[in-house]
């Protein structure tokens, strides 16, 4: 959603045309955005510890790690897939990074090796999905299981402290008060924004995910495009694993277990469709920030674990209903006049 709507000015049409098309920010973005504002206001009112520079820094670091995997997840969703393997790639790359660093390999080399390993796993995911035609959920669940298993096997279930001094550099503070990896995350988000909006392979993701048959008939390399999405996702997951172990100064095979579900949730909150072809960086960032804010705020308010669950559930439900309730009103006013088609496409897509 975040993307398809009007954006590039292009050759301007009539004023009317501009109005109908541009003055229509995606309802999901509107919904997610207002929820985000709402959460921030609610927490700011409830505790004076929320709106502080320190806390903003904490939220930023939390959001960055989750953000890396969510961006990847969103890209896979765009391409019409699912990436469950994240929960395997994160721990595997975390323990690999630590183990290799401890073995004395130079940090840069380790970094490259682990990222490549991630890309490789993603490529395997992609090939299984496209060539063997395995359902992406099952395929990535399989690789998740394998990777998680290997993560435990590599360290025999232990958490291994990171001994090499420089290897944790990604978690070093920058002059901006946030760790290096937050800047890395921002850079990656920006790059992906450009990729999805203004490059041929980026746009291909939308086509392949949103209309696989059309893409195939148009002679696009659908398999390649889809595989690239899985590769991007797994590489980002590997980076998240590296960041986690830099932050924790240790590689734990148990990290990242809940990241798959969280990343799907954040991506969908941010407007990505589970059926492919819809999604974008800005929405996803909103989704991540909502989840990050919610967690942070509830923790600050010392809501008990049980009620945190309850609260999270309700907020999720309200969030998404809000985004959806916006629709009818908007539609009535601003929709163009499709003549002989049946109106209810949006309902179609979301209510399934």
């Amino acid at each position: 959603m975040s993307d398809g709507a009007g954006s590039a000015p292009g050759a301007l049409g009539t004023l009317g045309r501009v109005l109908t098309e541009r003055a229509r920010p995606s309802p999901v973005i509107v919904g997610a955005g207002s929820l985000c504002v709402l959460l921030v206001v609610a927490f700011a009112v409830s505790t004076d510890r929320f709106l502080t520079a320190d806390n903003a820094g904490v939220v930023a670091t939390q959001v960055a790690v989750l953000g890396l995997v969510t961006l990847g997840q969103m890209i896979v969703l765009l391409a019409g897939g699912f990436d469950i393997s994240i929960s395997g790639v994160v721990p595997l790359s975390a323990v690999l990074y630590v183990t290799l660093s401890n073995a004395g390999m130079p940090t840069v080399v380790v970094l490259v090796v682990v990222l490549l390993a991630g890309a490789l796993i993603g490529t395997v995911n992609g090939l299984i999905v496209t060539k063997l035609k395995v359902n992406p959920l099952i395929a990535t669940l399989g690789t998740m299981s394998v990777c998680q298993g290997f993560a435990f096997v590599v360290t025999d279930g232990r958490t291994v402290p990171l001994e090499s001094a420089g290897a944790g550099f990604l978690a070093d503070r920058t002059p901006f008060g946030v760790p290096v990896f937050v800047l890395v995350f921002i850079g990656i988000a920006a790059a992906l924004f450009v990729y999805l909006k203004w490059t041929i392979p980026g746009r291909a993701l939308y086509a392949v995910g949103g209309g696989p048959e059309a893409a195939r008939l148009a002679g696009m390399r659908a398999d390649l495009t889809k595989t690239s999405a899985f590769a991007i996702s797994a590489t980002l997951a590997a980076l998240a694993g590296i960041v986690l172990s830099s932050q924790l100064l240790a590689g734990a095979p148990s990290v990242g277990a809940d990241m798959t579900l969280t990343s799907i949730t954040a991506a969908v909150l941010g407007g990505a469709s589970l059926h492919g072809g819809i999604g974008g960086v800005p929405g996803t960032l909103l989704g991540i920030v909502i989840i990050g804010t919610l967690r942070d705020g509830l923790a600050l308010l010392e809501v008990s674990a049980f009620y945190q669950l309850v609260a999270t559930g309700f907020v999720l439900l309200i969030a998404v209903s809000m985004a959806q309730l916006k629709l009818p009103a908007r539609r009535r006013r601003s929709r163009p006049a499709p003549e002989n088609h049946v109106p209810d496409k949006t309902y179609e897509r979301t209510a399934r």
Partner: protein
């Protein structure tokens, strides 16, 4: 003259079998540069299969595809494109959440070192549309388009300047006369530049006016190949059906003083525009709503079906006031059945069998509310298949495996099976062959004659004339004509506003 020079592309001895269905049997199809070939044949005769084989979407079981006399293997659409062969498939395939511009430029978007922009895509797509004289709003999302616009986008995708061959599978099935005229002008230009053009159509006029050569399919074989100039409508029909064909005589039109079957009062809508409309649709007759796209006729039809609810106005069925339907379910309970224009997305369940699609909405009739009666259902389905001459390998075949026209018949049969008081139809014979179309028209008229009310909207004026007892002409959201009898022939001009 065709035999003189070697065909550019040809199917030679091609066979293709699906399970027990022999879709193509030993087909030879030579295509020449610079010429326009039409493929004609009944539903399920094998036209689409031949088209798909030409474009690498299907592989023949036996026989070859020849290019310049040499056998080639076409590796999917990508391989076809590499050879300069482009196809518009019969069933539209597009990316609903992307814009028109992106759909048109799908696979060939302009770029500089991999970077592209919306602006350049719009420009390229606009160029393409201008070149072929189509008017589309480039920045609209594809999913918001009307079916005919979607079809035009599909056409623009395939019309490539400098292509070796272009294959159009029923490109005009939901276009109006004007629109198809523009298409054929464009096609003609491409052919003149040396492209070989092949199209499939069930509209004989198009075939006669638009092609150089006609290949007639029957039961998987090409039974005749003739120069268009040297044949006639009747001759083509005969070779297509294997027997002489006459359009069934139009029974005498219904009288004007029949009772009201469906009444609407004060229906109006602002966006899209429909001015205050009050109409009495008479029971026992077929009323055709005719208008160009955007004129309000489809809007009204969808309103009647509850698919696009109106917010103002009253309604009655068989003289009894009913609530204006806000949902399709309400319309249905009021006795209204709706045949939507897009059979694959809006009409049929593509994951289910032919039988199940036929009985889905009427199975209660053969059983209670809970338990289905498999025996009764099979009987219903078999009867419907026979009555509508649906070409199936078995009732248990997935409906997605049928040819397009046969799918349409399944849809119609299912809806008529509901025995509704009011039938609301959009493009009822889209993609249906000429023989079957005539039959469907007869069935619809007979159904109406038994006292039901039929409201039809169609983009095909010929169909409108054949079906209508009465015609309502729409322009700019207003009813501009309420015609009966011979006056109906003026509807086209009324709709266009070209004469008053």
């Amino acid at each position: 003259m065709t035999a003189d020079h070697q065909p550019d592309i040809a199917l030679a001895g091609v066979c293709r079998t699906y399970g027990s269905t022999r879709a193509l049997i030993d087909v030879d199809l030579p295509l020449h540069r610079g010429r326009i070939a039409a493929l004609l044949g009944e539903n399920g005769a094998g036209k689409s299969t031949a088209a798909k084989i030409l474009c690498g979407l299907e592989t023949p079981d036996a026989g070859q595809v020849l290019i310049d006399g040499r056998p080639v293997t076409i590796a999917g659409p990508r391989g076809a494109h590499a050879l300069g062969i482009y196809l518009i498939p019969q069933e539209l395939a597009f990316v609903p959440d992307l814009t028109v511009a992106e759909n048109i430029t799908l696979g060939w978007a302009p770029h500089r070192r991999g970077f592209t922009s919306r602006r350049s895509m719009v420009a390229a797509a606009q160029d393409q549309a201008d070149r072929f004289g189509f008017d589309l709003s480039m920045r609209q999302k594809m999913k918001d388009l009307a079916l005919a616009d979607v079809q035009m986008v599909e056409i623009l995708k395939a019309l490539r300047v400098g292509a070796r061959a272009i294959v159009l599978d029923e490109p005009t099935s939901s276009l109006t006369e004007d629109e198809s005229a523009r298409l054929f002008a464009a096609v003609r230009r491409l052919a003149a530049e040396g492209t070989s053009v092949t199209f499939v159509s069930h509209r004989l006029d198009e075939v006669l006016d638009g092609s150089d050569q006609v290949h007639v399919f029957r039961d998987g074989r090409i039974v005749e190949t003739v120069e268009t100039a040297g044949t006639t409508r009747d001759a083509l029909l005969e070779s297509m059906l294997g027997k002489p064909f006459r359009v069934s005589a139009r029974p005498h039109r219904a009288d004007a003083d029949r009772p009201s079957g469906l009444g609407i009062g004060g229906w109006r809508s602002d966006v899209p525009l429909l001015e205050d409309t009050t109409v009495d649709f008479r029971a026992g007759e077929v009323t055709v709503l005719y208008g160009l796209r955007g004129s309000g006729s489809d809007l009204l039809v969808e309103g009647l079906a509850g698919a696009r609810p109106f917010r103002h106005g009253s309604m009655s069925v068989d003289g009894r006031a009913v609530t204006r339907p806000r949902r399709p379910g309400q319309a249905r309970r009021a006795g209204i059945a709706h045949v939507p224009p897009d059979r694959r997305r809006q009409g049929l369940m593509m994951n289910l069998s032919v039988e199940e699609n036929l009985v889905l909405h009427i199975r209660g009739r053969t059983s209670g509310r809970v338990w289905r009666s498999p025996r009764g259902e099979s009987r219903l389905a078999r009867d419907a298949i026979a009555a509508y001459r649906v070409r199936v390998a078995s009732p248990r075949q997935l409906v997605s495996e049928l040819s397009g026209g046969n799918q349409q018949k399944v849809l119609l049969a299912g809806r008529l099976g509901q025995q509704p008081r009011v039938l609301v139809l959009q493009e009822p014979t889209r993609g249906v062959d000429i023989g079957a179309r005539d039959e469907i028209h007869r069935i619809l008229r007979d159904y109406a004659l038994q006292g039901a009310t039929a409201v039809v909207s169609t983009s095909d004026f010929e169909e409108a004339l054949q079906l209508a007892d009465r015609m309502l002409v729409f322009r700019h959201g207003r009813v501009v004509g309420d015609l009966r009898g011979d006056a109906m022939t003026t509807a086209l001009d009324l709709a266009k506003g070209s004469s008053t």
